[in-house]
């Protein structure tokens, strides 16, 4: 028999011109369902005014990012079993650091503009991708193959970063990781965007971005690497080798 849990889904609610509050929904769930399933069930059977973003249901679109029990999660791949237990409460809130449009949906426009500013790539040549067990040498033909970028643009890192909470001008983890992905040697015009007050030096090593990233982009490592690239490029410019 399939295991069934009774849980309370505690959901952040906020509509236009109203104060925010939490609504509780009692529901039966299967522990191996995903958090997004529970949110959709609340919408389907309890309250059709619930507003939330979702699309692909398999961690490709990055639309369903929320805070689950206080931690940023991509809800379409977060098992209910991993975040609560039978008889307990499951709290869902919108991402931090983005204005709430309605309930769990936030306005991510500022984030997308930053991604655009650094020319974040949606696809990249497979020869430039970080992949498991890469060949020791790529064939010339391999450069024709492309793949999707790891970053889903879900914004979880932007929500989890404590510096983002206080500095709206900060580029943030995903845009900096996107800059690193391209490399300053390949795109030297990115230097002035990332080597500034609100660029790569604004990061204060909380590593929350890497902790919450659902796609193993590891933005913190990329930011540290980008710093090395910036220093390298500045030194080269200083000694006239750029």
């Amino acid at each position: 028999m399939t295991e069934s849990w009774k849980i309370t889904l505690r959901m952040f609610r906020q509509k236009e011109n109203q104060d925010s509050h939490f609504d509780d929904f009692q529901m039966d769930v299967k522990p191996d369902e995903y958090v997004l399933d529970a949110v959709e069930r609340a919408w389907a059977f309890h309250d059709r005014t619930i507003c939330f973003r979702h699309a692909c249901h398999h961690s490709t679109c990055g639309a369903c990012g929320m805070r689950v029990n206080g931690v940023e999660k991509l809800t379409c791949i977060t098992l209910i079993r991993d975040v609560t237990h039978h008889g307990a409460t499951l709290k869902v809130e919108p991402l931090r650091n983005f204005p709430v449009v309605s309930d769990l949906a936030v306005d991510m426009g500022s984030f997308y503009r930053k991604m655009e500013a650094v020319g974040a790539r949606a696809v990249l040549p497979v020869t430039e991708a970080e992949i498991e067990n890469p060949p020791s040498k790529w064939d010339a033909d391999d450069s024709q193959y492309i793949r999707l970028s790891d970053c889903l643009e879900c914004g979880l890192c932007m929500s989890a970063c404590p510096i983002m909470a206080t500095t709206p001008e900060y580029l943030g983890p995903a845009p900096l990781a996107a800059a690193q992905d391209q490399g300053l040697k390949r795109k030297p015009e990115l230097l002035s965007i990332v080597d500034c007050e609100d660029g790569v030096w604004r990061c204060h090593s909380a590593f929350e971005c890497t902790a919450v990233c659902p796609s193993f982009v590891d933005p913190a490592r990329r930011i540290m690497n980008l710093r090395t690239q910036v220093v390298d490029m500045r030194l080269r410019k200083l000694f006239g080798k750029a």
Partner: protein, 128 residues
């Protein structure tokens, strides 16, 4: 709708110190800021006390007698604790900033904190 509630602003720095929903790196971040604030306050107190020297040896000696007060002693202990936590956590940040152990920052943090706790214990035994 008041959309400012969920938006970034400088006034939200208190959120740095809320451990809920944070992970090891976030706790280390908060610890570094807390100890930094403590050490900055201490720096001003320290300069104020040194300023007593300008008032002559009597004024300074009078303060030194205060250091036997258990509360002042506890304060001195707290300064050493803050220096150790902040300094060793800072070494972790320097290392990771130069690309050393970036993917092992959790282990680095725990390692340095164990060293800090051992040194704090040694200092506490010597002090009391």
């Amino acid at each position: 709708m008041d959309q400012t509630r969920n938006q970034p602003s400088a006034g939200k720095f208190l959120s740095w110190f809320i451990p809920v929903g944070r992970q090891v790196g976030g706790w280390a971040f908060a610890l570094n800021r807390l100890t930094a604030i403590g050490l900055t306050v201490y720096l001003f107190l320290h300069l104020f006390i040194l300023g007593k020297l300008a008032q002559g040896p009597g004024a300074y000696d009078q303060f030194l007698e205060l250091t036997e007060n258990p509360l002042i002693k506890l304060g001195e202990w707290a300064v050493v604790v803050a220096v150790l936590l902040h300094g060793l956590n800072g070494i972790r940040i320097v290392l990771t900033s130069f690309g050393v152990g970036v993917t092992r920052q959790r282990q680095l943090f725990f390692g340095f904190m164990i060293v800090a706790l051992l040194l704090i214990l040694m200092f506490t035994v010597r002090m009391y």
